[in-house]
Symmetry: C2
DNA sequence: ACCACCTCTGAAAGCGCTTACATGGACGCG
DNA sequence: CGCGTCCATGTAAGCGCTTTCAGAGGTGGT
């Protein structure tokens, strides 16, 4: 059936633009124009070409188009840790709009300093593999920025703000303030805070900002910031648990905890239970994000529209790609306190210190 | 500095293989061979070439390589819903090994019948964009299979089993049996089951298998299977809650519930709480997966190595790509019952029916 | 000294598109 | 009726690699 039979057997050769041209009795240039909807093609020709193309189930080879045009029709999404709820939501949001716009989404894990590698280094360089990139909470150095700009890549950041690229995010200082104020409003004065880590894949400025908000709220309420009440939880459930452990084991433990993510808050919940502390009777806990599961455990949290971050970032990348010059604007999305059942007014009775159950650490 | 200055200003043209060849005083063919480590290149030549390449920070344009070789050095991962814990874990596992092996991972959301579209249809066709594909719980029809084989794509499935491709998964019948037997062993006889949905993006055979295991265990214990105890929860937290709602609202409600995923089990937990039922005092709940958060809520569950599925699938794709002929084998991974605190022996006292709190549905 | 046989290298033909640039005809207008 | 325009189409030059084929030396055996 096909004019050229392909390899030895079976597997028929895919139709190329030449096949279509021959079958439609036009030149390849016309086929190219007709199929991509370019102007200056007679209607009759266009119809004939697309009919033939359909019959041959022709599809332009992306590799060839890429080579010829220099555009890959795909955008990269770089995330530190793909298996964290937050990142998976962002990626999910981005995927939806990228797919809808006909772009491939290639996701790039950039845990640790591989971030650099993925950008600049050898074989792994994203050079020419994507038209644009969204960076989700990955720290960009000056040289990274320079590299990206010199390549003419369309980039958008989520979370982190970078002077040279548009970014999507929330007011992280406000997040800290909202959480702390909620707790302060309930009468708590000793408020623990579980934050990010320094170094490692999750080394980004967000934790600092949220802490700043927390401290600001405390100062405003004329309460001293006690450095002993701050501990890192690396944004995971288990990290949050360990962090809370150290907080709750202290002699003068806090009556409330602000965890900078819901997953860490879950860990804190776990820790509280293991320490035999009633939540919110003996300790209040508030998180950030509004994780799917938060409603299940009744977690009070500061909600942000996570998947939407990804969607907007993707849209912004595409806008840059389709001509519109997008400045290095910062899109700030709203956050919202969602009060559930892990926070309650401080009870006046002084909490006694409980002895934690023994437990083997994983 | 560069022989050809690029566009109008700034942005220097990237070095091509020709630039390297010229600078090293050899032909492009030799550069190609030298850089890719092919044999028959004098050591001195190879060193000179790679030195020059480094200096020019040359990197082969992937589009050009793809066109010339026909290989894209990327594999697609198709998942129904990217924002579900299970899928994000699988993707995460796959990403790690793909990145390590130098492949791009393009993730493709295939909710609903878009699955077909992503495979066969027009602009979205994966034709020539990937060398291989892993399908995570996406149903493959005969024509899909035929399409994939005719294209010579390396494919691996996770979850679903397909006669023509290797697959990674677990013994889902056993999962149902293990869960049910655990509950039966605790004395429960009325065991609700929250399963998948029919139709929609999550229409795959796994729920049937797990139900089969559940029924098998019941029959073995000489307990009739009550169709009224089966309800669908579409694998989400909220779906699980609604499903549990309908189970718990019945006059003769179950004393235990087997949810086919932890997320649905979370929903069931929520529902139980809203119905004022003590877990595990009045109702036992068991899930499947061992979600990150399961430890927090103390959920008893049947654990499977989710991220590992993705890693193994990716590895299998790569093996096919690098020559090794991998048969349509089925790799069955172990599952394990993890007993926590949402399951307990049936109390002899007949549970009274509680009236659910009023609640507005979202 | 001759020949067979390696090893290393280069020339050139693609891979399948896109896109100036050129061309020919139809049409409008003075 | 002649000429300038404009539209539809074709020609061909890339895009930046890979890979076949052939050739130039160099080695070793006889």
């Amino acid at each position: 059936m096909a004019p050229h039979t392909g390899t030895a057997s079976g597997e028929r050769r895919r139709a190329t633009i030449e096949d279509v041209a021959a079958a439609a009795g036009v030149s390849v240039a016309t086929v190219s124009r007709a199929i991509r909807g370019l102007p200056n093609v007679a209607i009759s020709t266009r119809e004939r070409v697309s009919k033939v193309a359909d019959e041959l189930s022709y599809r332009a080879d992306p590799a060839a188009s890429r080579l010829a045009t220099g555009r890959s029709q795909s955008v990269g999404v770089a995330v530190p840790l793909l298996n964290y709820w937050y990142f998976s939501q962002v990626v999910s949001g981005a995927e939806a709009v990228l797919a809808a716009e006909g772009y491939d989404m290639i996701v790039i894990g950039v845990a640790g300093d591989d971030a650099r590698r993925a950008l600049l280094d050898g074989a792994t360089s994203i050079h020419r593999r994507v038209d644009g990139l969204v960076f989700v909470d990955v720290p960009l150095g000056d040289d990274d920025t320079e590299f990206l700009r010199s390549r003419g890549l369309a980039v958008v950041t989520v979370g982190n703000h970078n002077a040279h690229f548009p970014s999507i995010g929330i007011d992280d200082v406000a997040v800290g303030e909202i959480a702390a104020e909620h707790l302060l409003g309930l009468g708590h004065t000793r408020i623990g805070i579980i934050g990010g880590q320094t170094g490692g894949p999750l080394d980004f400025p967000v934790p600092d900002l949220r802490r700043t908000g927390y401290e600001r709220a405390l100062r405003r309420a004329r309460i001293d910031v006690d450095p002993a009440l701050e501990v890192v939880g690396n944004f995971s459930v288990l990290g949050g648990r360990d962090a809370a452990d150290s907080l709750l084991a202290t002699h003068d433990r806090p009556t409330a905890v602000f965890a900078m993510s819901d997953e860490m808050a879950f860990g804190a919940l776990l820790s509280a239970r293991e320490h035999g502390l009633d939540v919110p009777g003996e300790i209040s806990i508030v998180g950030v994000d509004d994780h799917d599961v938060s409603v299940v455990v009744g977690l009070t949290t500061v909600r942000q529209p996570v998947a939407d971050h990804g969607a907007r970032a993707a849209r912004l990348v595409i806008e840059q790609l389709t001509g519109r010059e997008v400045g290095p604007t910062r899109v700030e999305r709203p956050v919202e306190l969602v009060v559930r059942s892990t926070t309650a007014p401080l009870t006046t009775a002084r909490n006694e210190v409980h002895r934690p159950e023994t437990r083997s650490k994983p």
